[in-house]
């Protein structure tokens, strides 16, 4: 049973067809890159998977079930934005995640937090943007979920933070879980990915493993993407 599956998934809104007859599967234990330019439908697909949007037609399935309370227990989602309440301090945030998510590993989170030297009493609104992003990542990766969905996790961060994030993803690897990383910054994450899915204007253009692409085209996925993208733009 694939942990994530889209069947003829279509989503229209605001007069635009954001996703058009998308079919794909992701198996457990894989780290997959969802790659495409801005506005290609990546975020729409992730929102659909999390029940924040409902499909116009077709299905999105997490472990065979449509998004709902049961799938939310399985999916750990890192949105592109600061989504943690600003009034909370770090201790309260940990309490919050522990209260609502049965798979939250408080000790793992504490280890990462002490590693970064963040004060437990510090309020989210007092944290710098970089610290906030790291905290959000720690919360998401500290859950023992079956599917992690990271939306642009390394966009707009300094190289040290980027390395930290990639290191966290590698170090957290679990063969029972899958990780879907949605990004347009391919070069930075390419070595970490098993498979890549190219999406453009709501349609799947390519689905393959990183090594197959490098073998077949003799170039990195990033290089291939840039070439293809120039074609797509026309």
């Amino acid at each position: 049973m694939p942990i994530f599956e889209c069947r003829n998934l279509t989503k229209n809104y605001g007069g635009v067809q954001a996703l058009s007859n998308v079919n794909l599967t992701v198996e457990s234990g894989r780290i997959v890159g969802l790659l495409g330019p801005n506005g290609s439908g990546k975020t729409t697909m992730i929102k659909l998977a999390n029940g924040l949007l409902t499909p116009t037609s077709g299905q999105v399935l997490i472990d065979g079930i449509a998004p709902g309370i049961e799938t939310k227990k399985l999916v750990s989602y890192l949105p592109e934005r600061t989504y943690i309440p600003l009034w909370m301090d770090l201790g309260q945030l940990l309490d919050f995640f522990a209260d609502f998510y049965g798979d939250f590993r408080r000790d793992a989170a504490m280890e990462m937090i002490s590693h970064l030297g963040i004060d437990m009493k510090q309020k989210v609104k007092e944290m710098s943007k970089g610290t906030r992003e790291k905290v959000q990542l720690i919360m998401v990766m500290s859950r023992a979920a079956r599917l992690y969905m990271l939306d642009e996790p390394i966009g707009g961060v300094d190289p040290a933070t980027r390395d930290y994030i990639i290191g966290t993803i590698i170090g957290n690897y679990d063969p029972q879980a899958a990780v879907i990383i949605s990004t347009h910054l391919i070069a930075d994450v390419e070595n970490v990915l098993d498979d890549v899915i190219f999406i453009n204007k709501g349609e799947i253009v390519l689905q393959s493993s990183v090594d197959d692409i490098r073998q077949k085209y003799g170039k990195s996925v990033d290089a291939l993407f840039r070439e293809e993208f120039r074609c797509w733009e026309n």
Partner: protein, 127 residues
């Protein structure tokens, strides 16, 4: 350990090459325990699945063996390591000869160049 990864070639084969080189060059002694898949993947910045497959290939050709709970170890059979070393040397030599012949050098000229250049070149290469 040094991981040199070229973006245009498959990661899997490059990991195998790097690991073979490290073993053959003595960075890991015969019988020495290798770091865990996770640690090596972290160090190289690659997917643990790919690192695992690379290590499995090394198990297949005998350079490495695994003990269920204890982890992975470099083989103690020096014969296998020497064979791998020779194979790598052969590859390097073939590649060198190929480049030299494209420059237009023939066999006698190549040997003469090595002889005359030997002192400085070898000093530079720490031989």
């Amino acid at each position: 350990m040094e991981w040199q990864l070229d973006a245009n070639a498959p990661i899997y084969s490059q990991l195998i090459e790097s690991l073979e080189l490290a073993i053959v060059a003595g960075q890991f002694s015969p019988g020495e325990r290798l770091p865990s898949v996770r640690d090596m993947a972290l160090e190289a910045g690659v997917n643990p699945n790919t690192m695992q497959r690379a290590l499995q290939e090394l198990e297949r050709n005998g350079l490495v063996f695994s003990q269920r709970t204890a982890g992975r170890f470099v083989t103690e059979e020096r014969r296998l390591i020497d064979e791998a070393k020779k194979a790598l040397a052969g590859k390097n030599i073939r590649s060198f000869l190929d480049s030299m012949s494209r420059l237009g050098y023939g066999k006698e000229e190549i040997i003469a160049l090595i002889r005359s250049d030997t002192g400085e070149a070898m000093a530079n290469a720490n031989i």
